[in-house]
C-alpha cells in the first residue's frame, strides 16, 4: 500500500486577520497552525476533529481557495504554494474538491449537463461531442440517468445532488480529491451509498482522497490512515485500526469515547473519559500544547512546550505523556 506520497504538507499555517479596521485591535485567527502530514498514492487519509478545529480550512488551503500563510504543500513533487499561471491550471486538473452542502455547491441556474460539462470547457478538453459523451458516461458512473442532463439541480434530492457534484469533480480525471464532509448533510441511508460510490471510484481510477468528516464511523470505514485535529494542530496520525483501537492522545481517546453505541446497556457501562469545557477560541490558542486546558493529564511541561508529532509504536502522536 504505502509507496510514494502524492501530497506532502510541511509546517502549514493558515492565519486569517480579523478586526483591525479603524480602531479595533488587529487579531489573527490561527485556523491551521503548523500541520505536517503525507497522503500516499491511492490512499484515503481521514481527518477528524470537532467543529471549528480547522479541518475545512486545511482542506481549502490544500486546493488553494485560501493562501497558506507559511509552510510547504508539495503535490507530486512540486511546491504548489508558488506556481505560475499555466502550472496552476495543471494543478487544478489534478486536484479537486467535493463540498459539504449539496444544496449550495451546484449553481441553481445551470442544468446538470452544463454543470458537468463546465470543467471540460474551462480546460478546453475535447470537442463538444466528446464532452457530451463524457457527461453521459460520468452520469452513469455516479448512478444517474443520462436523460437527467437537461434537469436543474433543484429537481434532485440531496444524495442525487452529491452524485452530480462528484461527477463534476471526476470530469477532469483528477488524481487527488479533497472531500470536505461530503456526507454530513445527507441521510444515513444515503451516506452509505455515497461512501460506497467514492470507494468504487477510488478502486476504478486509483484516486487519493483527503476525507474530512466529524462522523468517526464513516471515516474509519473509508480511510486507510486517520489524522485527529485539535485547534489547528494535528495531535495524532495512525492507521485507522490503530487509531480506533489504541488511541494514544488524550484528545483522540475522548473523541472516540464520544461515539454513541447503539446499545444503552453497553453505553452505560462504558468508562467515562470525559473532557470538560469548550474548545478555546482560535484567536487565543493556549501556550504549549493546545489541548492542555481540557486535558485530564496536563502537567506543567504542557504549558511551556508545544509537543511535536513523534513516532510511538505504529502511530505518530503529539503528547508529552509518551516521552521517555
Amino acid at each position: 500500500m504505502e509507496e510514494t506520497p502524492i501530497l506532502k504538507v510541511e509546517g502549514l499555517k493558515t492565519y486569517f486577520p480579523v478586526g483591525g479596521g479603524l480602531f479595533g485591535k488587529k487579531q489573527v485567527v490561527k485556523a491551521v497552525n503548523d500541520v505536517s502530514f503525507e497522503v500516499m498514492e491511492h490512499e484515503t487519509f481521514g481527518l477528524v476533529g470537532e467543529s471549528g478545529c480547522g479541518k475545512s480550512t486545511l482542506g481549502r488551503t490544500l486546493v488553494k481557495i485560501y493562501e497558506p500563510t507559511e509552510g510547504k504543500i508539495e503535490f507530486m513533487g512540486k511546491d504548489i504554494t508558488k506556481l505560475s499561471g499555466s502550472e496552476m491550471q495543471d494543478f487544478r486538473r489534478n486536484v479537486q474538491m467535493i463540498f459539504q452542502d449539496p444544496y449550495a455547491s451546484l449553481n441553481p441556474r445551470m442544468t446538470v449537463g452544463e454543470i458537468i460539462r463546465e470543467p471540460m470547457e474551462i480546460h478546453n478538453i475535447g470537442t463538444p461531442k466528446e464532452r457530451d459523451e463524457k457527461v453521459a458516461s460520468l452520469l452513469e458512473t455516479v448512478g444517474l440517468k443520462p436523460d437527467h442532463v437537461r434537469r436543474y439541480p433543484h429537481e434532485f434530492s440531496g444524495g442525487q445532488r452529491q452524485r452530480i457534484s462528484i461527477a463534476r469533480t471526476l470530469a477532469l480525471d483528477p488524481k487527488f480529491i479533497v472531500c470536505d464532509e461530503p456526507i454530513s448533510a445527507l441521510d444515513v441511508s444515503i451516506q452509505a451509498q455515497i461512501i460506497n460510490l467514492l470507494e468504487r471510484i477510488q478502486r476504478e481510477r486509483g484516486i487519493s482522497y483527503l476525507f474530512i468528516a466529524h462522523d468517526l464511523g464513516a471515516v474509519k470505514h473509508i480511510s486507510n490512515r486517520i489524522g485527529a485535529m485539535y485547534l489547528g494542530s494535528l495531535v495524532e496520525i495512525g492507521s485507522s485500526d490503530d487509531l480506533y483501537h489504541h488511541p494514544l492522545h488524550p484528545y483522540t481517546q475522548a473523541l472516540l469515547a464520544s461515539i454513541p453505541i447503539p446499545d444503552p446497556k453497553r453505553m452505560r457501562e462504558r468508562k467515562k473519559e470525559e473532557i470538560n469545557g469548550e474548545i478555546p477560541s482560535p484567536l487565543d490558542i493556549p501556550s504549549g500544547c493546545p489541548f492542555r486546558t481540557r486535558c485530564p493529564y496536563a502537567t506543567e511541561r504542557c504549558a511551556q512546550e508545544k509537543p511535536q508529532l513523534r513516532q510511538v509504536g505504529n502511530s505518530k502522536v503529539a503528547c508529552h505523556l509518551y516521552d521517555k
Binding site: 491550471q89 487544478r92 474538491m97 455547491s105 463546465e118
Partner: protein, 310 residues
C-alpha cells in the same frame, strides 16, 4: 421478536418490484427554466398582464401611427389651428395646426426610447461596476464604492441641467444626464448580492475547477442575481420616462419642433384657458397610462421572480 429470529428466508418470499415502484424516482414534469417559471407566475397576475398588453399596444402605435398617418409631427397647417377632435384629427390639432395624434405618438417614440435605452445603459454599467466591486472586494471595493457615494451626493437635477447646458437640449444629453446617476442603485444592489453569493460553495467549486474571474462573476454570480436585476430594470424605465417628461415640461428637455410627452404638455399649458383646453389631456393621459402599466409590470415581475416576497 422470537418469530423474527426463527424465520427462514426462502426465495418465494421475494417478489420483483412492479414497474410503478421501480420508476418511483422518475421525474415526470418537463424541466422548466428559471425564466419560464417566472413567466408562469407573471401570467397569473392579471393587472401586470394588462399593463404588458397596454405597453405593447403603445409601442406598436408609436411605431405605426407616424408611418401611416398623412400628417407629420412638424407639418404646420394654418388653415386648421386648434381643432377639437374630429374625423381627420382624432385628437385635434395644436396652435400651429399640427396633428396631435401624430405628435403624441411621435412623443411616445422619444419617451419610450429614452426610458428603455437609459435603463439598458444603467443595467450594463451597474451590473459590471457592482459585480466587479463586490467580487474583487477589499480596497478596490472601498474605492469604487466611495466614488459612487460622491456621485450620489450631487443633486440629480443639477447634474442633468449642467449636461444639457454643455451638450445642448437633445435626446442624447437627456440620456446621459439620466444615466449618470441612475445606475448607482443597480450597482449597489448587484454588489451586495455578489458579495453574499461569492462565498457560496458553487462559486468556490467553480474557482477550484480553475474558472477565470470573469467566468465566475458572470456565469455563476450575476446570473444568480438575475431576478433582482430584472426587477430593478422594470423600475428604472418608468423613472427615466418620468425624469424626461419632467425636464421637457419645465422647458429644458427636447426642443421644438421635436416633441416628447413633456414638451407636448408644456405647449398645451398656455391653451388651457382658451377655446381648446383638452389638448393637454392627451400627453398627460399617455404619460399616466404608460407609467401605470410600467408600475404594474414592475410589481408583477418582482412577484414573479421572488414568490416568497408575497
Amino acid at each position: 421478536m422470537e418469530t423474527m429470529e426463527t424465520m427462514e428466508l426462502t426465495p418465494d418470499l421475494f417478489e420483483p418490484l412492479d414497474s410503478a415502484e421501480k420508476n418511483s424516482e422518475f421525474i415526470a414534469a418537463e424541466p422548466r427554466t428559471y425564466l419560464s417559471d417566472a413567466w408562469h407566475r407573471f401570467r397569473k397576475n392579471k393587472l401586470a398582464l394588462c399593463g404588458l398588453v397596454f405597453l405593447v399596444i403603445m409601442v406598436i402605435l408609436a411605431i405605426v401611427v407616424p408611418m401611416v398617418s398623412p400628417y407629420t409631427y412638424d407639418g404646420m397647417d394654418y388653415s386648421s389651428v386648434n381643432l377639437l377632435p374630429c374625423l381627420e384629427h382624432p385628437m385635434g390639432t395644436d396652435k400651429f395646426g399640427r396633428d396631435i395624434l401624430v405628435r403624441v405618438m411621435y412623443g411616445a417614440r422619444i419617451s419610450l426610447m429614452i426610458g428603455f435605452s437609459s435603463a439598458l445603459i444603467c443595467l450594463v454599467i451597474g451590473v459590471v461596476y457592482g459585480g466587479f466591486s463586490g467580487y474583487i472586494g477589499g480596497k478596490t471595493d472601498m474605492i469604487l464604492m466611495r466614488i459612487v457615494d460622491i456621485l450620489y451626493a450631487i443633486p440629480n437635477l443639477l447634474l442633468v441641467i449642467l449636461i444639457m447646458l454643455v451638450f445642448g437640449s437633445n435626446v442624447t444629453s437627456i440620456m446621459i444626464g439620466i444615466c449618470l446617476t441612475s445606475w448607482i442603485g443597480m450597482a449597489r444592489m448587484v454588489r451586495a448580492q455578489v458579495m453574499s453569493l461569492k462565498e457560496q460553495e458553487f462559486a468556490l467549486a467553480a474557482y477550484v475547477l480553475g474558472a477565470s474571474k470573469s467566468r465566475i462573476l458572470f456565469k455563476h454570480l450575476v446570473i444568480n442575481c438575475m431576478g433582482s436585476i430584472i426587477v430593478n430594470v422594470t423600475l428604472l424605465v418608468p423613472s427615466a420616462i418620468f425624469t424626461e417628461a419632467f425636464l421637457s415640461f419645465v422647458g429644458i428637455g427636447i426642443s421644438a419642433p421635436a416633441a416628447s410627452w413633456g414638451t407636448l404638455a408644456n405647449e398645451a399649458r398656455s391653451l388651457i384657458e382658451s377655446s381648446n383646453p383638452i389638448q393637454i389631456i392627451w400627453p398627460i393621459l399617455a404619460i399616466c397610462l404608460t407609467m401605470l402599466s410600467l408600475n404594474f409590470i414592475g410589481d408583477g415581475v418582482s412577484d414573479a421572480f421572488d414568490p416568497k416576497k408575497k
